[in-house]
């Protein structure tokens, strides 16, 4: 591992201010700096013992992601993509196609088997190879995550303001007044009444919980926002408001977003570019319009045609 672990590790942790967009912008990716906010290459995650045949024996050509030789599950393999600042990249695919695995790896909820990922704002190389202390910093300062299930993204026994504060505290905010000001600002932006700031998310409706999650994810002005099925399971009118919120975030921030969904409607509305996943592999990638109007891969054709 020669990815510069530890050189000047204290630099980030020692800082006192939470928001320093200008500073973030000036830090480049070094040799990987080609403008992408996020660049992923060769991301692979295998569950189980894994054997040399795993990759060869799985994928859309075999119609499975379970290796016939050793029984390991290849959740995703050789996933490469990049996202520009302010861009929304859609990832579609059926259940079990490896969509969530990708964002969970990027948010360090799980470790990839192999692969690389670079953030424009984080100049110390492959984020999968840095120390867990550094990962903690990347997770809290540079990325935000919205889970499909708010139980994963929120602490239900902590006030909604506290949930947002957690991110800010991790970024060394040490002034309660300013933390509450910022939390209020975010709640306002996500259309949650300020009066509910000191109320518990368990008392919120599903849509509101999702909006608190978004507020939390936005707390430190992340450069990359990971959205995992954020509208799934919500009723249509609530969905529409959440999608409006995402559009609003795109207008007002430079955050690159990775949007995971199996709902092509959401993709059509939000994503500029889309990748289609099947059995843990990318089967098609390109402009969203192109993919929806003129799908090339058999599976994408099936997907597009089966929209109600």
């Amino acid at each position: 591992m020669n990815c510069g672990v530890g050189e000047g590790e204290g630099k980030r942790t020692g800082r006192k201010k939470g928001r320093e967009m200008e500073m973030k912008m000036t830090i480049g990716m070094g040799e990987h700096d080609t403008g992408q906010a996020l660049k992923v290459s060769g991301l692979t995650r295998i569950y189980g013992s894994s054997c040399p045949d795993c990759i060869r024996m799985t994928g859309p050509d075999h119609g499975t992601n379970i290796c016939r030789v050793c029984g390991s599950v290849v959740a995703c393999a050789d996933i490469s993509f990049d996202v520009m600042p302010g861009e929304i990249l859609g990832i579609v695919g059926e259940s079990g196609s490896g969509k969530s695995t990708i964002v969970r790896c990027l948010y360090f909820d799980m470790e990839p088997t192999c692969g690389e990922a670079y953030l424009r704002c984080y100049g110390k190389g492959n984020i999968f190879q840095v120390s867990s202390q550094e990962k903690q910093i990347i997770r809290n300062l540079y990325t935000g995550m919205v889970y499909q299930n708010p139980q994963l993204g929120l602490k239900f026994d902590i006030t909604s303001g506290g949930n947002i504060a957690e991110k800010l505290l991790a970024a060394n905010w040490r002034n309660v007044g300013r933390i509450r000001e910022r939390a209020g600002e975010l709640l306002e932006r996500t259309e949650i009444p300020l009066a509910r700031m000191d109320d518990y998310p368990r008392n919120f409706s599903g849509g509101m919980q999702q909006r608190v999650q978004i507020a939390k994810a936005l707390a430190n002005d992340p450069d990359v926002l990971l959205l995992d099925e954020l509208t799934t399971g919500l009723d249509v009118s609530v969905q529409a408001r959440i999608l409006d919120l995402i559009k609003d975030i795109r207008r007002n921030t430079e955050a690159a977003m990775v949007l995971i969904t199996h709902d092509l409607g959401v993709i059509r509305l939000l994503a500029e570019r889309t990748i289609v996943l099947k059995n843990g592999r990318i089967v098609e990638a390109g402009l969203t319009d192109q993919i929806l109007e003129d799908p090339q891969h058999e599976y994408t054709q099936l997907l597009v045609n089966s929209v109600l």
Binding site: E166, L169, A170
Partner: protein, 293 residues
């Protein structure tokens, strides 16, 4: 008060049939090694093989193991419990050490070389050749917010204390202030979060950049940790909600008239009125003898 008559220097009797200082030499050596590690990484909890002691767990088995491991026959020991030399626990620990080592004891903080304490730091200034040994019930500062040992260890490794900060934030939101009394979490050397054992907040500033070596030991939880001399110790605080010690303004000790020491509150059974006394009894005695403050 003077030293107990049975403990007078002239007839020091070391109990027969026991190794010097009760513990066997290998045990003492292990504990000393763990102390060295703890001193080298201030605030880090070092696991050790806590032994069965002739004392119930929770009554100072950790403190006594450290004391017995570091004591020599020229040491002078002081044992206090909540500031008092005369509580049953303190007296029994002192008697045990004396019977096993023949060490001298004292109630005078300035004369002691080793001070074993439960929940207080003596009021008088400590010197660099002294060692303070704390009896610790709960060594893990994160335990109240995270029940899993595996997770708290990971949090320490990553210096991920946002959960503790969040706990303080929620405290402020709910109560308008930080309500932690004793066991106030402190950052040691800007690296490890540490539980200073249930000393009152009053004593927390005494830990910072102190000339003396502080050793902490939890017998039941099998952990040793330390604050090396001249180490920075910062209580967690917000810019707008600063750490505060207990406020005794307007109150003085009924015995010695002190107004600058940590006071215990007593309620007069007859009149029902509140009275205050120094928690550090030997210092109170000293001041009284010296004609008050």
């Amino acid at each position: 008060m003077t030293d107990k008559p049975t403990l007078a220097k002239t007839d020091r009797i070391i109990e027969k049939g026991y190794n010097f200082a009760f513990l066997d030499e290998f045990t003492k050596r292990e504990i000393r090694r763990k102390i060295l590690k703890a001193v080298a990484i201030p605030g880090y909890q070092v696991p050790f093989g806590s032994r069965e002691m002739p004392l119930a767990k929770g009554w100072g088995t950790g403190g006594i193991q450290i004391t017995l491991s570091i004591i020599g026959d020229t040491d002078i020991l002081k044992v206090i419990d909540q500031g008092s030399d005369d509580s049953v626990n303190a007296v029994n620990i002192r008697n045990l050490v004396v019977r096993m080592t023949g060490a001298q004891t004292t109630e005078d903080t300035t004369k002691a070389t080793i001070i074993q304490t439960r929940h207080r730091i003596p009021e008088e200034a400590l010197r660099d050749e002294q060692i303070v040994v704390f009896q610790v019930p709960f060594p893990e500062p994160l335990r109240s917010i995270e029940p899993s040992e595996q997770v708290t260890r990971r949090m320490h490794a990553r210096k991920d204390y946002s959960k503790m900060w969040l706990h303080l934030y929620e405290d402020i939101v709910k109560h308008g202030r930080i309500t932690i009394g004793a066991r106030y979490p402190v950052m040691i050397n800007s690296r490890y979060l540490m539980d200073p054992s249930p000393i009152p907040r009053w004593d927390v500033p005494r830990l910072n950049q102190a000339p003396v070596l502080y050793l902490f030991c939890a017998g039941r939880e099998k952990r040793i940790y330390a604050i090396a001399p001249h180490t920075s110790v910062e209580p967690l605080e917000f810019e707008d909600y600063a750490f505060e010690v207990e406020d005794f303004s307007g109150k003085i000790c009924e015995r010695c008239g002190s107004s600058d020491t940590f006071l215990d509150e007593m309620i007069d059974e007859i009149t029902g009125s509140k009275k205050y006394f120094c928690s550090d009894t030997s210092f109170c005695d000293k001041r009284k003898k010296g004609g008050g403050t």
